[in-house]
Structure formats: C-alpha cells, structure tokens
C-alpha cells in the first residue's frame, strides 16, 4: 500500500490527468471521447492515460479495436486521507480551544 501511494499522488499532479479523471466520473469512455476534450496530440493523451493506468486510477478494456477507460475511485483513498488529516488537525485543536475557553470561564 505504501509503495502505491506516490504513484497515485504523482498521477493526479498533472491538471490534464485530473481532468481525465473528471471525465470518467460519469462513466466509462473510449479513448476518442477522452481525447476530444484536449488540444494535445493523441500520443500525449495516451501517455497521460498510461500514467493513470500505472497508478491503478483507471482500468482499460478492449472491445474490438476500441479501448475504453474506467475510473477506479477507491484508488484515490490516500489522497482523501491526506486532506482528512488536515481537517482533523483543526477539529482536534478547536476542541482544545473550546476547553481552554471553558476553563477560562471557571477562573473568572
């Protein structure tokens, strides 16, 4: 698990790849339907999809000559956890602030 995380974070570090994931949220798409959203060349699109594949964020199915891509949302879990740590940091500290204020009340 630890070894896979850098791949996931690296994979979403590029805006084009994040956009590709956004496109796949609504459902599977063939490579053409993904490529038409980008100005870049087809090989460049394929290269970005390859990074997403390697990170396990998408899977590829072949239907005859067509390649379709599907999002694997659970692979984003490390990213969600990473953000959640910061949220919990503040929740914990605010709980301490609250106790601090209540303690102050008693002293008055």
């Amino acid at each position: 698990m630890m070894n896979t995380e850098p791949g996931v974070f690296g994979a979403i570090s590029h805006p084009a790849r994040r956009r590709m994931l956004d496109l796949l949220v609504d459902g599977d798409r063939p490579v053409n339907a993904i490529a038409e959203n980008f100005e870049m060349s087809r090989p460049a699109v394929s290269q970005h999809l390859r990074v997403l594949l390697d990170a396990g964020l998408v899977t590829e199915q072949r239907h005859g000559r067509e390649r379709r891509y599907r999002l694997v949302p659970e692979r984003l879990e490390p990213v969600r956890d990473w953000i959640a740590h910061y949220e919990r940091f503040w929740d914990d500290n605010f709980a301490r602030l609250r106790r601090h204020l209540e303690k102050g009340d008693e002293q008055q």
């Binding site: 850098p6 974070f9 979403i12 919990r88 301490r96 601090h100 204020l101 102050g104």
Partner: protein, 145 residues
C-alpha cells in the same frame, strides 16, 4: 489554479472579546495550539514549534507564519508555511457577535495540489505520516480532561 480550503463554523458562548484573546495571544495559542512567538500586529513573523514526539518517531516541525490581517476583535489572518514550500497556506478567523456569544468562521486555504503533491512525493509522504501520528498522539482528550 484549483486550491482546497478547509472551512469551519464555530460557536462559543463567550463574547467576541474573550474569544479574540484565545485566538490572538501567544499564551492562549500555546495552550490550544503550540509554543509560539505570536504578536497581534500586521507584518509580524512568528513560528509555531510543533514539539518532537519520540513515540511517533517525529522530529518536530516548525510552522512559519506572518500576520496578514489583525483587526481586534473581528479579523485575524496569517500565513501557514511548512518546509521549503510543500505547504504554503493561509489561516483566517472572522469573529461575529452571535447573541451573547460568538460565531467564528475559520478558513485554512491554499492547499495547492500541484505544489503539495509534487515530485518528491515520497519525502513529504513520510513527513506527513509522522505529522498525522503526532497530531493524533498529541491531542488525547482523556489526558487533558
């Protein structure tokens, strides 16, 4: 660029002047956050010193801050920077009277994915793991009660 923001609304029974003292004095911040050399004036640079925690194999950490806004008892904003820019963010509080108490609107903004998630993923990931452990170990409500 897309950035992520943590937002919280907090309600306190104490009036804004009391809540302000808890948010904007060095002693109070040391109590509910970390040791610091905060001063309530715009332009003041200060640090929070997150202490080491051997149990979590955490070496400690310094958060670099600069006061950007300070309007007692209603607005406080400062930068929140860790490491050489891997976390370059801002923290702000807005206090509003709410009956006899206070409503605080809190924001921690500027989580830039590209920056936070950039190349040296492994290094900060280790650091982050340590950080997370420290946060969970350093705030045990049972030990403070």
């Amino acid at each position: 660029m897309t950035t992520k923001t943590i937002r919280r609304e907090l309600k306190f029974t104490q009036p804004p002047a009391v809540v302000w003292r808890a948010l904007a004095t060095s002693e109070a911040l040391a109590d509910w956050m970390y040791p610091n050399d905060f001063e309530p004036r715009v332009g003041h640079r200060f640090t929070f010193r997150v202490p080491p925690d051997p149990r979590a194999r955490f070496d400690g950490l310094i958060v670099h801050c600069e006061v950007l806004r300070c309007m007692p008892p209603s607005e406080l904003e400062f930068t929140w920077v860790v490491g050489d820019g891997w976390l370059d963010t801002r923290v702000s509080y807005r206090l509003e009277a709410d009956g006899e108490g206070t409503r605080v609107l809190f924001e921690h903004s500027g989580f830039k994915e590209d920056q936070a998630f950039h190349g040296a993923a492994y290094g900060w990931q280790m650091m982050h793991g340590k950080l997370a452990k420290t946060f969970s170990l350093s705030d045990n409500p049972a030990s403070k009660a």
